[in-house]
Symmetry: none
Subunit: 123 residues, 2 copies
């Protein structure tokens, strides 16, 4: 059985820390768990922490875009935090500009962004 | 003769509950009825409740997108409520991200969203 990535909760915000070297099934499980938790907890926001990612490829980039799209569908705003400079460059080069996804430099700033409605990603 | 889906009214908001297993003609009737009612009632908002949908396919996904587009054309904002986690994932996988459509977890939140102008879907 493949591993499951834990989804933490801070108030009405869900927090997911994405590691590298994820298997396909782990990613699918994560997307499913995230969607379930948003609905079950009536979560208003999702913070995806990618500070553990030193590099990204198109698979991981698409995973981020998909998770953000699922969250938006379920009326939760998404902020990606902890993006490294090299990761930002690679995502842009891959053409995965994560349109509609808000970013913040760290978890604290990300949570602050979710508290200010006008500032976060469009729903 | 194919069945017609009822369109309820709450103040100036119209409420449609979409079931699964809709025939093509029923969907066409619904779109026509919805457009007629928006104009006849001067409706400012439309809530599409899809909590009865346990799964969606591309037909249903396109129907939702079409109904939202028709409502927007007639100057009514649309909120899709009651989306199940699995439905959100499927819509994203189908590439039907319902751009410009606002979502809310339940009917109450959907109605609240329509009351706050800045928060609902762009017209």
């Amino acid at each position: 059985m493949s591993e499951r990535i834990p989804i933490l909760r801070i108030g009405d915000v869900l927090l997911v820390s994405v590691q590298s070297d994820l298997e396909d099934q782990t990613v699918l499980n994560l997307q499913e768990d995230l969607a379930d938790q948003i609905v079950a907890r009536s979560a208003g926001g999702v913070v995806i922490d990618i500070s553990a990612l030193e590099i990204v490829d198109s698979f991981v980039g698409r995973m981020l875009a998909t998770m953000a799209a699922i969250s938006r569908m379920l009326d939760a705003r998404t902020v990606v935090v902890g993006m490294r400079p090299a990761v930002a460059i690679t995502l842009v080069e891959l053409g995965l500009s994560l349109g509609g996804v808000s970013t913040a430099l760290d978890l604290e700033k990300g949570l602050a962004k979710l508290r200010r409605p006008s500032d976060a990603a469009p729903r």
